[in-house]
């Protein structure tokens, strides 16, 4: 039986909970992370393909992801651990006037937030991604400051550093109760322990709703699943993440990039969404995604697929995360509903959570928290998730 008293208990050692634990430990807090899986990042983190971009259209996500990029880009120099960060940028391609319009409309917003992203015509775009199918290519956006990393290695790096700074992690522990007395969090109970604490952060990803129920709250988080894959390694030929937002039968977006290992990793956004927690492989995925990839980049035709898997996107009604304190229960915080962007938001978000808990929020933080407030009304929907 585990026991003890902690300043903060984080539920979930994934893309959000792990960097949050590091930031909290760095802030001098005694932090415990509980996770039901046997080791770090075994929920949705390991299923992520690792694209990191600041070029969103929502100011809160822009702010968090910008900070994430700073953290990831500086990590190896600061800690000597290679997390395979590559600043290859993102390219969104346009083959029809529809995408051209969507992307150009977004540019206006993105430029307003000072993001480094520009429109390139077909010729200029082919200089950056020479293997794009030139047929019908109108152009696209390029954001050179974005990049990608290994979610597994980054999560482990945060985990190692957090433990070095004194954070505790306990795996194979399912949180079974959160004790609330007089309107305030008092303790967390798991299948293997009992931990006194004044603060709980729900960072349970697709399983956040069940954790919320332990304090009587119903978080509007519904997971859906996306399938991804990885190929054999080949010599480096592709710098940016390539995103195709043309709708196709069964899917909306399709995106891929080349890993530091030389492998191509790829994913699609199912449309309509496949709601639920089912992560078992389907026969629909490979024919669907392969056709799109080979059409978009014919050079991929002979590249061999090595592995596929499925991971969960904890979705919110408007496609933006829910971050902040619960109004009903003192000491209960949410960092949930990352909508598949936990890896790119987590590190920035972790630091914000630490400031939130230590009462050192900046004015920018307040703006972010307002946008991501769990108590907002869900009306708008971000143009490009």
């Amino acid at each position: 039986m585990g026991k003890g008293a902690f300043d903060v208990v984080v539920v979930g050692a994934g893309s959000v909970g792990t960097p949050a634990a590091l930031a909290l430990a760095e802030a001098g807090l005694d932090v415990l992370v509980l996770d039901r899986f046997p080791s770090v990042g075994q929920g949705s983190n390991k299923a992520a393909i690792g694209g990191i971009r600041a070029t969103h259209s929502d100011p809160a996500k822009i702010s968090l992801a910008k900070r994430t990029i700073e953290i990831l880009a500086a990590w190896e120099a600061a800690h000597g651990q290679d997390i395979e960060w590559r600043s290859g940028g993102y390219v969104f391609v346009a083959y029809t006037p529809r995408e051209e319009r969507i992307l150009k409309d977004l540019l206006v917003v993105q430029h307003a937030y000072g993001l480094g992203i520009e429109w390139l015509d077909a010729k200029a775009l082919l200089e950056i991604v020479p293997d794009l199918n030139p047929r019908g290519l109108i152009g696209g956006t390029h954001s050179p400051g974005d990049g990608h990393c290994s979610p597994l290695l980054a999560c482990h790096a945060f985990y190692d550093e957090a433990r070095r700074r004194g954070a505790s992690f306990r795996f194979g522990e399912q949180v079974t109760g959160i004790e609330v007395r007089e309107g305030r969090v008092r303790a967390v109970r798991s299948n293997k322990g009992y931990y006194e604490t004044q603060v709980v952060i729900n960072a349970a990803g697709p399983w956040a709703r069940a954790v919320g129920k332990l304090v009587g709250l119903d978080h509007p988080i519904v997971p859906d699943s996306h399938e991804a894959g990885v190929t054999e390694p080949v010599a480096h030929f592709l710098d940016p993440m390539v995103v195709d937002i043309r709708p196709a039968p069964g899917s909306s977006n399709c995106y891929f990039h080349q890993l530091a290992s030389g492998q191509i990793t790829f994913c699609i956004t199912p449309d309509p969404p496949i709601v639920g927690e089912d992560c078992r492989e389907t026969s629909a995925f490979l024919p669907m995604v392969a056709r799109r990839m080979v059409d978009l980049m014919p050079r991929l035709a002979s590249l061999r697929v090595r592995r596929t898997w499925r991971g969960l996107y904890p979705m919110t009604p408007d496609g933006s995360p829910l971050v902040g304190w619960a109004q009903e229960i003192e000491g209960y915080a949410m960092a949930i509903g990352m909508c598949g962007q936990g890896v790119m938001l987590g590190p920035g978000l972790g630091e914000l959570l630490a400031r939130m808990i230590t009462g050192t929020l900046t004015s920018d933080d307040h703006e972010v928290l307002e946008v991501l407030s769990p108590h907002r009304s869900f009306v708008a929907h971000e143009a490009l998730k």
């Binding site: 080791s39 290695l153 010599a235 030929f237 078992r280 492989e281 991929l300 035709a301 002979s302």
Partner: protein
């Protein structure tokens, strides 16, 4: 070198053509893989690993790993799966291969979806036997196999099979059983066969992804799935375990008995189970010198008759020994072994090094059961048969397949399909391990009689089945009992030699005093080719376990029928040793002298994950730090992320946890994921392609 003769296998080659490797012009024959054509020239290093530059060569010979990667006409391909073509330019793979540029996307069509009552994955003994049962009942069945012919590992087996003659063709050679079963499968009008077709994944929507004839991706949705994919070989941790020249018995048999190349000059075998013993015998049939065999246990685990066959041919068998290292730079140059104590730890000072060019690892098999597990997880109606269900002899696989075929017929609602209770009993008997060993009985009397050098309980009865006088008896209810020669009822041995010919263990001789009471004729079976021994030759007569008895003269050689390849050698031997002679040795023991000083391989380079070049040291350190989730080891080190998908390192990792004293219930296994084999994106996109034909 290519084999130009073989005592058992026919050698037929068409006209050769030229191809190049690293600019050098070489000959190849139609139907040869790139790997076979290179090995035929003694080329064992096919490339260098992009991570550490270590030499890479053939390992699985089965399309599962990617160690035999070469660049053929500009494209990275697996040398073991790709047929060499006239004029093909083959280059060694060094660093990561360039992805060839392509002008336009290929033509793509919808991926075909096919419904079928029964899908059988694997056309080996189990899959074929099941398909025959299903076909006999008119049940529409699709049988797929990833090789270019049916038979599975039977097609590599030149020896006669054990088991029950009436039930599983015992006494017939594996290659011939394959042909007979193939013919029976083809006679079933309701059975469709796809060759060169690999199952890639079983999906949760109950479809099975198949790479059809290596060129087209299709989805097959069966009502019932039978997984009969056989087994894969276990790997082993030792220094130098990934050097070119270290490979599994299956890969070796594929190169020698299928591709007909002499894949080694001097071979050392690790593992004294049936697989290692038989592979050693096959090597000798291909005129490859077997330098020695190590077995960690005090006795070989395989059938004694298999062990004795090797020992009689002069192969040194080192029991209670283990391999310490395979030594060499670009490939195996020698092997270092040592004696082990009762806890299997090497005893310092007992190291011995033998020159050899090949180390064959035969330390056991694991079922290829991932499709079955997935199908069960996904709630499909699924069965497993043969080694995919339980590791056993091929004879057991035949029975297990027959039973599975009938179970499927029952599951599909066929009325009146019964599984005879004796089938179940026979299946159990055929799966049994070797039992008790007994002392040889006193020699029988009479002028002519067989001597049964078979003193271990194994499931086998051909000798009893062929005796025209019914004088060789084995308990008909349990063919594991030892055979006995019992002359009764006034009947006597006719000296027909049928038992000598048919014994799979080459463990029966015929002693005949009829012509000469002092120097009787002893007939021994011989499988190294009719040309190897002639009347009048002086040869060494040896006893059952290979001890030299005397130099004797060959009195005659009998060849039976043009299709049978067992030669009967008649020896004139002194009376006092007549009943002890079990075989002959043509040459003196091979020159298996140890080097004066054992070689110690210093680099601590035991490789756990050969795809990603992860060493044991790195992983051991993680385990000692408390890591218990294999997926965490994978995340940190990449072990298991390679082409083979953890099929090789997974079992080794379990072994390492055990070695480190970790209770295995604390360990979380790798999560198994598709695909079974790497396949080009274009094929999933519905294009047709011929890269890995």
């Amino acid at each position: 070198m290519r084999l130009d003769r073989h005592p058992i296998l026919p050698i037929e080659r068409e006209e050769p053509f030229r191809f190049t490797f690293e600019g050098q012009e070489l000959d190849a024959y139609p139907g040869e893989t790139i790997a076979a054509a290179l090995v035929a020239y003694g080329i064992r290093t096919f490339g260098y690993h992009p991570k550490d530059g270590s030499p890479q060569g053939i390992y699985c010979a089965n399309g599962q790993c990617a160690q035999c990667l070469v660049i053929a006409d500009g494209k990275p391909v697996k040398a073991c799966m790709t047929l060499v073509q006239p004029g093909m330019r083959v280059e060694a793979a060094a660093g990561l291969p360039e992805l060839p540029r392509v002008a336009a996307p290929p033509r793509m069509k919808e991926v075909e979806r096919i419904r079928v009552p029964v899908l059988v994955i694997g056309g080996g003994p189990a899959g074929m036997s099941a398909a025959i049962e299903l076909g006999a009942r008119g049940i529409r069945t699709l049988l797929i196999d990833d090789k270019h012919r049916l038979g599975g590992k039977l097609v590599l087996q030149t020896h006669r099979f054990f088991g029950a003659q009436d039930a599983v063709y015992a006494g017939t050679r594996g290659i011939d059983i394959a042909t007979r079963l193939d013919r029976e499968v083809r006679a079933q009008s309701s059975v469709e066969v796809w060759l060169s077709s690999t199952a890639l994944a079983v999906y949760s929507d109950h479809a099975v992804g198949i790479l059809r004839t290596g060129r087209e991706y299709v989805l097959v949705a069966p009502e019932v799935l039978l997984v009969a994919c056989g087994a894969r070989e276990k790997s082993l941790l030792f220094k130098g375990n990934t050097l070119p020249g270290v490979y599994g018995a299956g890969a070796f048999q594929t190169l020698v008995n299928r591709d007909l190349v002499r894949a080694a000059e001097k071979l050392f075998i690790v593992g004294g189970g049936n697989v290692g013993l038989i592979a050693g015998y096959h090597a000798i049939q291909a005129e490859i010198e077997v330098v020695g065999l190590v077995e960690a246990l005090p006795e070989c685990g395989g059938y004694k008759v298999h062990r004795d066959k090797l020992a009689r041919l002069g192969v040194p068998i080192w029991t209670s020994h283990t391999i310490l290292s395979a030594n060499g730079k670009e490939g195996v140059e020698s092997v270092t072994i040592a004696q082990v104590d009762e806890r299997f730890r090497p005893i310092p000072g007992t190291e011995k090094t033998f020159p050899c060019d090949t180390v064959l690892v035969a330390v056991g098999l694991d079922p290829v059961d991932e499709f079955y597990r997935k199908a069960q997880e996904f709630g499909m109606q699924a069965f497993a048969a043969g080694d995919a269900a339980e590791i056993a002899e091929a004879s057991a696989a035949i029975f297990s397949g027959k039973i599975a075929g009938r179970r499927i017929a029952q599951a599909l609602g066929q009325p009146d399909v019964e599984i005879p209770p004796e089938w179940e009993r026979m299946a159990k008997i055929l799966k049994s391990k070797p039992g008790q060993r007994g002392a040889p009985p006193p020699p029988p009397g009479g002028d002519v009689f067989p001597v049964l050098h078979c003193h271990e309980e194994i499931p086998c009865n051909p000798c009893a089945s062929v005796c025209p006088q019914r004088l060789i008896r084995i308990d008909p209810d349990d063919i594991r009992r030892r055979p006995q020669y019992v002359p009764t009822g006034g009947k006597a041995c006719l000296g027909c030699e049928r038992c000598v010919v048919v014994c799979p263990g080459l463990a029966i001789t015929l002693v005949d005093f009829r012509r000469d009471q002092d120097n009787p004729t002893v007939t021994v079976p011989f499988e190294l080719g009719v040309a190897a021994v002639r009347e009048g030759d002086r040869v060494t007569a040896v006893d059952a376990s290979g001890e030299r008895l005397a130099e004797v003269t060959v009195a005659g050689v009998r060849v039976i029928g043009k299709n049978d390849r067992t030669v009967l050698v008649k020896l004139s031997v002194p009376r006092r040793i007549a009943t002890r002679v079990a075989g002959i040795r043509l040459r003196a023991r091979p020159d298996a002298k140890a080097l004066p000083q054992p070689v110690e391989r210093l680099a601590d380079d035991e490789i756990l994950c050969r795809c990603e070049r992860v060493t044991v040291g790195v992983v051991r350190a993680l385990i000692r730090r408390g890591v218990r989730d294999m997926n965490e080891i994978k995340a940190i080190t990449r072990a298991g992320m390679g082409a083979c998908g953890g099929k090789t390192c997974g079992p080794l990792l379990w072994h390492l946890f055990r070695e480190e004293g970790v209770p295995l219930d604390e360990v979380t296994s790798y999560v198994p994921r598709p695909l079974f084999m790497e396949v080009p994106l274009a094929l999933f996109a519905g294009a047709e392609e011929t890269r890995d034909a």
